[in-house]
Amino acid sequence: MGLRVGGPAEVFDGLNVLELGSGAAGPVATRYLVEQGARVVRIESARRPDFLRVLFLTKDSKFGLDGSPMYVLLNPDKESVSINMATPDGVELVKRLVGWADVVAENFSPGVMAKWGLDWEGIRTLRPDAVFVSGCLFGQTGPQRKYPGFGGQGSAIAGFNHLTGWPDREAHGPYGTITDSLSPRYVAVAVVAALLERRRTGRGRHIDLSQIESGVYSLSEMIVRQSANGESEVRRGNRSERAAPHGVYPCRGEDRWIAIAVEDDDAWRALVAALGEPEWARAPGLACVAGRLAREPELDAQITAFTRPQDALALAERLQAAGVPAGPVQDFADLLDDPQLAHREHFVPLHHVHLGELLFERSGLRLSASPGGFERPGPNLGEHNRQVLGGLLRLSEAEIQDLVAREVVA
């Protein structure tokens, strides 16, 4: 909320964001804004809860909708208001909040916002200079716009699954449904570009972002290659078309690995030196990348024999010191101990009322004049009803109680 008393101003101090929607892709986009001081109010409802609130919910879950670590971790510093959008009064409340908002962000299926009168025509009537962003899977137009997918479907459709895995096995995407982490960045970029434009023109605008399209845009090289040469890019394990050796090699311990990427001939010379100039590595044919690519299986076998007894991190440190791009394949425990991430204060510990201490995660960018950060865990459902309805919309306690009694606030 940007209430760091006496601290430096943050980029979005004073910016009001109203968020409707659910899951990861929408909330991660506004997390960038909240990290830099925006005030983000989420409209939610117990009647149709965000699916991240119920993702791991079982009969034994003690804290119901308020105990989902994933929801809590992806929504720091946001305020939650529970409003039943199936009631006309609920829709009216949200319309009043649109009047307050600089940015309205939603990731519902196309048509849902329009049903409430909250399509762009509706929004701009309520707040002419609003920046309104819609971020569903396939976009607001087109014959498949209502396709009901999650990130798993988005990653497959956008091409990432086809590109990930081993040539002789199934396609499967990078862990974590990549369109759910990639598309929020594009949503945030479009919103901030529109805010900059608004400062100049005074006008808002609607941005229609498709999670799948922003994935395909990222894969522009693959599209161009197909169009120009008729070549469909394939999955090739960890190998590169242009560099060798280029792979992940076993190290000492269970499921421990090192990634080594000999990106150019200088790195090869450095690797050979670090290996101790063995006979096999000094073959003149290996000095240039073409020769190494031609003998990749043999090189991989030799490097595997070298790496297998070694500690992954210690070896990576040695190779890096010698000028070879290399790094241990880190698991989550390694990330929590990573000195570089610690230096960047990537993990932000905050206390949650039910879950105890949790580690929240910063984005990958740091601004020298605006440190940013998080101060509160993701909200309980409706935690800020009074703060928003009373404080922001100036409803009296009696009015709020009436809304609760009529299940408008629910």
Binding site: G142, G149, G159, T164, Y186
Partner: protein, 404 residues
């Protein structure tokens, strides 16, 4: 949306997309290459397989919406020119080898004091400072160190990455975002600042809070290949692969029931499956034997159909099923076609016309769009250096000095 914004793009392949993004938003992006061209960035594959920097498909794909100049800032005349370019820029985007540009006195520190409004963005493997600030790493290394690789792939093989450089795809919009945030703040303060982007750190967002969840329960996560947790997510179709989650929960009950109804219409749903209680089904608590029985039934059905047949029916029946598309399938995709995602650019000197994705988001006025093809080597030297007041004879001298 960014009309009038001047960006000097010094990036290598890890930052091409970041500069392109700003160009597609309307900024005037000037891509700087060494004299003779960026022979690393203008890499293979080449158009029609004919080697040559002007036909590099990676370059043509990722440097659209930019003008292009050549410059060697390590010679004296080039350094002077570089200073004049920086003085005229709102934003500098760089992806230096750790410490490299700073060592030459050409980094942020050298310019910040004299150019207080300048926004300077560095994309580096691990960030500009810290114990690993000098470590080298491209996509493979930062994906490995960012935590994603360890949980991607099959349990009986090494961890694996995506074959296209997703580390750069994650970092590019994050860098563009940092730049836009800095510009937003400049409107309030009148001052620019440094944007420090770590490729490794941007990777962590791809885990969608899994490290934080791990810190809570300390249960190590294993690679599960084509499965998501306990149940299969990727299935064989007759001609490729599809994604279909055999997972429970209220959001998926209708989906699972609709799939079984579809199987039943084709006589491929056994009696026990047609009567299945999906409301009571949870992938978290169901037995291993039961998972196997379900997977056999669904798998046999999917294997009888092509990816396209399955997807078309999934659309009609609102089933959560998706094909694992390749580039050819994307270029033909009816939904993407109807939104005119692709635009064809002509390359007369190469005798080619190539389709590109046109935008990452749509607006009614097409404000986010590919503006121009990627520059040829030094294509805009005359134009850009002309704007600095240089005449053609000056440029000849600079070329003779090896500066451009």
């Amino acid at each position: 949306m960014l009309a009038g914004l001047r960006v000097l793009d010094l990036s290598d392949e890890s930052g091409f997309l970041a500069g392109k993004l700003l160009g597609d938003l309307g900024a005037d992006v000037v891509k700087v290459e060494p004299p003779g061209g960026d022979l690393v960035g203008r890499r293979a594959p080449y158009l029609r397989g004919e080697p040559g920097p002007e036909g590099s498909l990676a370059w043509l794909a990722l440097n659209t919406s930019k003008r292009g100049i050549t410059l060697d800032a390590s010679v004296a005349a080039g350094r002077d020119l570089f200073g004049r370019l920086v003085a005229g820029a709102d934003v500098v985007l760089e992806t230096p080898r750790p410490g490299e540009r700073d060592a030459l006195g050409l980094g942020w520190d050298a310019w910040a004091a004299d150019h207080p409004r300048l926004v300077w963005c560095s994309i580096t493997p691990f960030g500009r400072t810290g114990p690993r600030a000098r470590w080298r790493g491209g996509d493979l290394v930062v994906v490995a160190m960012g935590g994603n690789m360890k949980v991607t792939g099959d349990p009986d093989r090494p961890p694996v990455r995506c074959s296209m450089p997703t580390a750069y795809y994650h970092a590019a919009p994050e860098a563009a975002l940092g730049i836009l945030m800095a510009l937003h703040q400049r409107e309030d303060t009148g001052r620019g600042q440094l944007v420090d982007v770590s490729l490794q750190e941007t990777q962590l967002q791809s885990l969608l809070s899994a490290p934080g969840q791990f810190a809570l329960h300390r249960r190590p996560m294993q690679r599960s290949g084509a499965r998501l947790g306990r149940t299969r997510e990727i299935w064989a179709a007759r001609d490729g692969w599809i994604s279909f989650g055999l997972r429970g929960g209220p959001a998926r009950v209708a989906n699972l029931a609709a799939t079984v109804a579809w199987m039943g219409e084709q006589g491929l749903a056994p009696e026990w499956l047609r009567a299945y209680d999906w409301k009571g089904f949870s992938h978290l608590t169901v037995s291993d034997d039961e998972i196997e029985r379900l997977e056999q039934a669904f798998g046999a059905f999917f294997a009888k159909h092509t990816m396209r047949e399955l997807y078309e029916q999934a659309l009609a029946r609102r089933v959560l099923l998706a094909p694992c598309n390749d580039a050819r399938e994307l270029l033909e995709h009816p939904q993407l076609r109807s939104r005119e995602l692709f635009v064809t650019l002509d390359y007369p000197e190469l005798g080619a016309a190539i389709e590109h994705p046109d935008f990452f988001a749509r607006t009614a006025d097409h404000a986010i769009a590919l503006r121009r093809r990627a520059p040829r080597i030094g294509e805009h030297n005359g134009e850009v250096y002309g704007q600095l007041g240089m005449a053609p004879c000056d440029l000849e001298k600079l070329a003779a000095q090896g500066a451009i």
